[in-house]
């Protein structure tokens, strides 16, 4: 069986930021499920690894958190994007698109094109 690719720390952070950008404030499980859904089970994420990452992003000021009530009316910690986080997401998205564009161009090159 083919191993599911590991998620790089930086990529996961970007996914978290994008998720919060799209969905608005979310609790940890919501973020984890969203990432799982979108990646279509291709990524192996131990959901628990999300929590140290969330704390790191919070320390860096990209996201903020507060207690709130979940769907079933229990206490849950909700994370939301801050202004700094939005800026970071924008710039990282741009970087990422640039990188993929370059890689894509490399893959599209055929032997004949080089002459």
């Amino acid at each position: 069986m083919k191993e599911k690719p590991d998620v790089l720390q930086g990529t996961l952070a970007l996914m978290v930021l994008k998720t919060l950008d799209v969905l608005g404030p979310q609790h940890g499980w919501g973020i984890a499920r969203r990432i799982e859904q979108i990646s279509g089970d291709l990524l192996a994420v131990n959901q628990g690894t999300l929590y140290p990452l969330l704390l790191k992003l919070e320390h860096e000021g990209s996201i903020a958190s507060e207690w709130g009530a979940s769907e079933n009316n229990r206490r849950a910690r909700f994370y939301r994007l801050t202004g700094a986080g939005r800026k970071q997401l924008l710039s990282e998205t741009r970087d990422w698109e640039q990188t993929t564009a370059i890689i894509a161009r490399f893959f599209n090159v055929k032997a004949g094109d080089l002459i």
Binding site: G48, T49, R77
Partner: protein
């Protein structure tokens, strides 16, 4: 930016002890609940749903650890843990901790104390801008054995225009002047300087101005710059002081500026640094001699500032070329046999050069003490490691990493060393002013010595460095314990500690060797000092006091009431007869400052022109020439060897006469009878320069040599002249008898001022004090080194005691078996003592080799004793061996008295 923000949040979490654990637990509980619900929705049975949710979440402990690591800073947190553990360990064995901390406090405290002295003297000798550019220019005539003969004004002008220097300035060496007009005539230290002096030093006035560097007045420009101290003390910090007239030696000067607070003149003695008046002078007109190339300005110092970025070597090269061309240009002025040279000396060297060797020696000695303290503590740490080897083995068996263990031990030893350093610094800080009293007053920059931030940084740096170096080795050896062996032997740790016991022996041997080096140094210094102290000075200092006074020397000689010897004689005879009438006084005499044995600064010397041998000043050898009254030789007990002494009939209008000492007779008239020879001495710069006709002085007597210049020098040529023929301005009144030192100074002042109320009277001291002051730097370094050596010996004794005790403890089983098998008790005693002796011999051998090197390095500080003095070496080795044996004797006794049955049962 992001990183910093994250770091500070974590740091504040760490500092405030805020925990995130509960939050994580809550979040995870919620997460699991949500995931379980989701799983239930997909139709899993409840048990399986919970299990799958947990699996999906991952290992709880890892998440917790990662989360915690993100929340706080693990490295610092571990360090805090280690620190807490270290403190607990220290508290658990208070005896050990106390000894270790006290040892380090001693080592670091002593080192820091000496460093604070060095910091103020050797490291910061000159409180001026770019001090490295400042040089002293010294003229030598090596051909006639004369050093520092002074510069002439034309030569100075050559230097100024040579382009080698930014600027060069002639300065007086610091002298005294009488400030009259206030309640009591004041004697103030002043310096005549060329107007560019302050430009050379690079200092400006805080009020008013300094002299105009381009001022070309030939004589005094009648401007005076005063010190901040004088301004505050005498003039109440008057802001309108500028333009005020001061009467100095009966001349009127106008104040043009006040130097900033904290400005100190350069010089090696506190007297030179405490100059309070600076007078601008061109040194080229009245009252100075005319600016001829041949008239050197004696007792003047030239200091200069080199061009930016120019090295002393390069400047010296240019200067040598200049000297050569001047010699060619003026062959008559610079006769070849005098070999005139001009030397550049870093100014800092002239300020602290005289004490550099002593201070370096002290720093070396104290460094050895520090090293011994460190070795001792390292030894203690190793001993304790053995006691803790079981703990270490258990922790390793439970999976503690070696690096982690080393780090923990290192934290422990660092804590010990740091506490020691802080304790040492604290003691120094509290007792600093007491310790300063031990420092001789003649040390340059005495007032700048202090315990400041730099000194504190030094103490902390030394503590940390020593803790790291001497903590690392024990930590490394401790963590290397043989796990299985140690555990199997129930913690006695005999086999795992072979490295350790070897390390400990090496440490003890080096301790013994280092202390031997120190003891030899102390022994040699002690012997030198003892010899010096007991040397026959050749004059009698008993019951004798010296009291100084100063006659004003106005710029216009005709205004001087004591212009001629005849005029001055009247005053001196009156002072002498009144002094003799004081209670207790048996004898009284007068001389100039140069006649004060061991108590005068370097007089510079005058050229001695012998009839028929030399014809010009600049060819002549230079000789010290005190001026004395006829009673001087009898009062100081300096016996006549041939000829006669001065009499009251030798007056200004009778033939000029002089008395020399035997050294002068041997040096300048070898194999001849000197009495009756004619000589001429270059006239002093002050006073009248008139006699076109050379007046010859006849030598009338030879006295025995006395160590009046330095106790270490048996014989320096001297030529004495009578004060009744040669007036002197700087007078010392000598009194002998049953004197009450507390009142005599006041009585003499009253008597002197009843003759002339303008004369200041100051500086009364007994000749015994003068004598002992002249030895103060030597005594200081001797006492310090002896104190360090005693400390070292004590520490080495403790070290060998600890090691032998440990060895005995380790071998008690073996000793018990031997005893049980019938070994004699004194055989056991000898066996243990032999161990101690072996260490002592090895240490003494190494130490003696080291001491030979060190004693040759300090040969310059020794007097009358050779650096390889066998009695010192033998005595010191004996003492060290005795101490080592005594220290081994106690554990040896313990070994001898072992009860085999109890010992073997208890194992």
């Amino acid at each position: 930016m992001k990183f910093l923000r994250r770091f500070f949040t974590r740091l504040s979490n760490l500092a405030t002890g805020r925990r995130a654990d509960q939050r994580l637990q809550d979040e995870i509980a919620e997460h699991l609940a949500l995931q379980t619900e989701e799983n239930l929705r997909t139709g899993m049975p409840p048990g399986e749903a919970r299990r799958q949710a947990r699996l999906k979440l991952g290992a709880g402990e890892t998440i917790r650890e990662d989360h915690h690591a993100e929340h706080s800073i693990p490295f610092i947190e571990n360090l805090l843990f280690d620190l807490r553990y270290a403190v607990r360990m220290l508290l658990r064995s208070p005896g050990f901790s106390f000894i270790a901390i006290a040892t380090m406090a001693l080592g670091i405290g002593a080192t820091t104390a000496i460093y604070s002295v060095i910091d103020a003297t050797l490291l910061h000798p000159l409180p001026y801008r770019n001090p490295a550019e400042l040089v002293r220019i010294q003229d030598d005539l090596p051909g006639v054995g004369a050093q520092g003969v002074g510069i002439s004004v034309p030569e100075w002008r050559d230097l100024e225009s040579s382009g080698i220097f930014q600027s060069a300035s002639i300065t007086g060496t610091g002298a005294n002047v009488n400030l009259t007009g206030s309640a009591q005539p004041l004697r103030l230290s002043f310096k005549q300087v060329t107007p560019n002096y302050f430009a050379v030093l690079g200092v400006d006035a805080q009020l008013g101005r300094t002299f105009d560097p381009h001022d070309a007045t030939p004589g005094y420009n009648l401007e005076v710059v005063i010190s901040d101290g004088l301004w505050r003390r005498e003039f109440g910090a008057d802001p309108h002081i500028l333009g005020r007239a001061l009467r100095l030696d009966n001349d009127v000067y106008h104040v043009v500026g006040v130097m900033p607070r904290g400005f100190r003149d350069q010089g090696s003695t506190s007297e030179e640094q405490n100059v309070e008046l600076w007078l601008g002078a061109g040194f080229a007109g009245v009252p100075f001699p005319p600016p001829l190339r041949s008239s050197r300005l004696r007792s003047r110092v030239v200091i200069a500032r080199l061009k930016h970025g120019s090295s002393i070597e390069a400047a010296q090269g240019h200067l040598d070329a200049l000297v050569e061309s001047l010699k060619k240009q003026y062959p008559a002025e610079y006769p070849a046999q005098t070999a005139w040279t001009v030397r550049l000396i870093p100014l800092s060297e002239t300020v602290v050069g005289s004490v550099r060797q002593s201070l370096v020696l002290l720093f070396g000695a104290v460094g050895l003490v520090l090293l011994i303290s460190c070795v001792n503590v390292a030894n203690l740490l190793l001993t304790r490691a053995s006691a803790r080897s079981r703990e270490i083995a258990v922790r390793q068996a439970l999976g503690a990493q070696r690096a982690r263990l080393i780090r923990q031990f290192l934290v422990e030893s660092l804590l010990l060393f740091l506490l020691g350093g802080i304790a040492g610094f604290g003691i120094l800080f509290c007792a600093g002013h007491l310790l300063l009293r031990l420092v001789p007053e003649s040390l340059p920059h005495l007032n700048d010595i202090g315990v400041n931030w730099g000194v504190m940084a030094f103490a902390l740096t030394v503590s940390v460095a020593a803790g790291t170096i001497f903590g690392l080795a024990p930590a490394w050896l401790m963590s290397r314990a043989d796990l299985i062996g140690t555990l199997r032997q129930e913690g006695r740790g005999a086999s795992g500690s072979r490295d350790r016991s070897r390390a400990r022996q090496i440490l003890v041997i080096s301790e013994l060797a280092l202390s031997l080096v120190l003891m030899v140094a102390a022994g040699l210094l002690l012997r030198s000092f003892w010899d010096l102290f007991n040397v026959q000075p050749g004059f009698n200092a008993d019951r004798t006091m010296a009291i100084e006074t100063w006659l004003a020397g106005p710029n216009d000689p005709t205004k001087d009431p004591y212009q001629t010897a005849t005029q001055e004689s009247v005053l001196l005879r009156e002072i002498l007869s009144r002094s003799r009438a004081l209670p207790g006084v048996q004898e009284a005499a007068i001389g100039d400052e140069a006649s004060l044995p061991l108590g005068h600064s370097d007089p510079g010397g005058l050229p001695l022109i012998r009839e028929g041998i030399e014809t010009m000043d600049n060819q002549a050898p230079v000789i010290d020439s005190p001026i004395v009254s006829p009673e001087y030789f009898h009062l100081l007990g300096m016996p006549l060897r041939s000829g006669r002494l001065f009499s009251d009939q030798d007056l200004e209008d009778t033939p000029q006469v002089a008395v020399i000492n035997q050294a002068a007779a041997h040096t300048y008239w070898p194999g001849q009878y000197p009495v009756g020879k004619h000589v001429r001495l270059h006239r002093d710069t002050r006073g009248l320069v008139s006699s076109s006709q050379p007046v010859w002085t006849t030598i009338i007597g030879v006295i025995a040599d006395a160590r009046t210049e330095s106790l270490a020098d048996a014989a320096i040529p001297q030529i004495y002249r009578s004060v009744h023929q040669r007036p002197a301005k700087d007078l010392v009144i000598f009194l002998r008898g049953q004197l009450d030192s507390s009142t005599i100074a006041t009585q003499v002042r009253q008597q002197v001022q009843s003759v002339d109320a303008t004369l200041p009277v100051f500086h009364a001291e007994t000749l015994d004090d003068v004598l002992s002051t002249s030895l103060s730097v030597r005594r200081f370094s001797m006492e310090m080194v002896a104190c360090f050596a005693a400390t070292a010996l004590l520490l080495a004794g403790l070290g060998i005691y600890g090691t032998i005790s440990y060895v005995v403890n380790e071998q008690r089983r073996e000793i018990a078996i031997r005893l049980a098998l019938g070994a004699q008790r004194d055989t056991i005693l000898k066996m243990v003592l032999r161990r101690g002796l072996g260490l002592a011999v090895a240490g003494a051998g190494l130490g003696a080799a080291g001491a030979l090197v060190v004693s040759h390095l300090m040969a310059g500080l020794l007097f009358g004793v050779s650096p390889t003095d066998p009695p010192t070496f033998a005595g010191v080795t004996l003492v060290l061996t005795a101490v080592a044996l005594a220290a081994s004797y106690i554990p040896a006794l313990r070994a001898m008295r072992l009860d085999p049955i109890t010992t073997l049962h208890s194992e």
